[in-house]
Amino acid sequence: MSAFLEVKNLSVVFPTEDGRVQAVDSLSFSVEKGKTLGIVGESGSGKSVTSLSILGLQKGTRAEVTGEIWVDGTEIVSANEDEVRKLRGKSMAMIFQDALAALHPYYTVGHQIAEAYLVHNKVSKKQALARAVEMLDRVGIPEPHKRINDYPHQFSGGMRQRAMIAMALSCNPSLLIADEPTTALDVTVQAQILELLRDLQKEFGTAIILITHDLGVVAETADDILLMYAGKQIEYGTVRDVLQIPQHPYAWGLLTSIPRLTGDPNLPLTAIQGTPPSLISVPSGCAFNPRCNYVDQVGTLCASSVPDLLPIAQGQSHYVRCHMNPALRESIFTTQVRPHL
């Protein structure tokens, strides 16, 4: 079956004074209705750029977008601004990390939610405001009929994020992109928001792309994981697959380096050495090779050629971009990585 969102070979390049920034490099994935895809990666790995490309928000900027993005049968990359605009908000919506910055400081929350509803529905302003109250109520804001007249700065951080969600969902979009929706929030509030997202998804059958750098959040919320490094997808599969039998050394590094509530706290964390690369001069070959502990296992290939994204085994939906052969990976994982998890 064809997924609600299908991204094929998406690449985004920013020509800048310092050079061409390859922010996203041949990314392919799909999300079905009612499912959640978690995109995980370090800062600057191209997560936000990907999400903006899906919404077509890079049209009219200097970004060079190639590849295909199919949303509900429309191809976004080649579509004109007006066609995409009609999809935005209605078929796909987005919530951003910094809700305070993402809400207009001079308009009331109610107005901003109603505005989103008004663009796509032939209703009166009053009806739109009623919708705003309804949505605020739905996302758990107490006394919504009063709060619609508040300005964003009068909301607390969690409430703002809820308001963003209410705004995004006001037109029942089939796809919701959440770009680090909880990073700025406290754990307790983060938990509330994630739960809200899950509930809403259950109710409306929305497809969700959840962008985060926290594997824990993905584990709790997503169905699939797309792991990005330096603009490329390096591992892609179901949450269970990727978190339990991770294939890429970067994934191993990530999983072993994050402190957990379980396991022996006295053992040192196994950190990933080095720092993420600059996207202007991505290391040749596998972008991760300068930081990879297992380059020796493969030899010069790592530094000279970019590995393909391949299923870990025939017919599997778990993909990885690594030169090591599956058997080698398997053995390293079981002997060296798993004990640290």
Binding site: D18, G44, T275, P276, P277, S278, I280, S281
Partner: protein, 315 residues
Amino acid sequence: MIGAPIQGRSPARMAWDRIKKDRTAKISAITVAFIFLLALASPIFTWILHTTPDQFHPETLDPSFGTNPVGKLGGISAQHWFGVEPRTGRDVFLRFAYGARTSLSIALSATALATLIGVLVGLVSGFFGKTVDLVLTRTMEIILAFPSILFALAVTPVLENLLESWGVPTGNATRIPVMIVVLSMFGWPYIARIVRGQVISLREKEFVEAARSIGASRTHLVFKEILPNLWAPILVTVALNIPTMITSEAALTFLGAGVIDPTSDWGAMLLASVPFYSVDPMYTFIPGFGLFILVLAFNLLGDSVRDALDPRSSR
């Protein structure tokens, strides 16, 4: 941008490199330099032209209309490159060159003084806060509430009298210092406000905390930690302030509170040209255009400096 570190370039060095690449900045800098050179070299022209900027040349004027130089375009000739002044026949080119001297030195001194006061007040006010800040910001508020041009006009004769009563001789010897004081008096609050704002935000920065946590004294904090971070905004402010000062100096002179004849000054030349703009437009045009070019060049240069020092602001 995280990544391969660039070899040991200080922020100032990076700004300088950016400026060097900026063509507008280069052209403006050359223009400014040219006008400076003209101002500095003005005595040489006295020697070349065998006359002084104050020398009357009655023979160059229409005897029945003292306001009309003989000849085209305000009497432009091999002897008088920019023509002559109506009523006196003084050489306009020399007055222009010497005028650049006066205008620039007053504007630059006023900028320097205003910057000095502004930076000091801004630092003190921003860093120490509380009552000191309250008093200083209130003072700024009051100064900014003054209709500055009017007040500058009104206060010039007063200050002049004051200086005279201290035995300073009348004339430009008192007028010029008074102008500098008056111009900087209204100029410093703008600088102080910017510096104060910067200091307040820097004061809360963690690196200042860090210095405090290792026991740094206030002097260290102000001069070693905060001040180095102020150079960029100060430089930008100064760069954008110079043209304002030039304009204000000219305006003040134009309104009659400026340097006194025979000392030449661009604002004074414009003022003197007013009655003749329709009979001898060249006489108005020359100082006006000079002023325009100078201010434009400084403005462009200021923009470039700002862009270079603050890469986020892009044109």
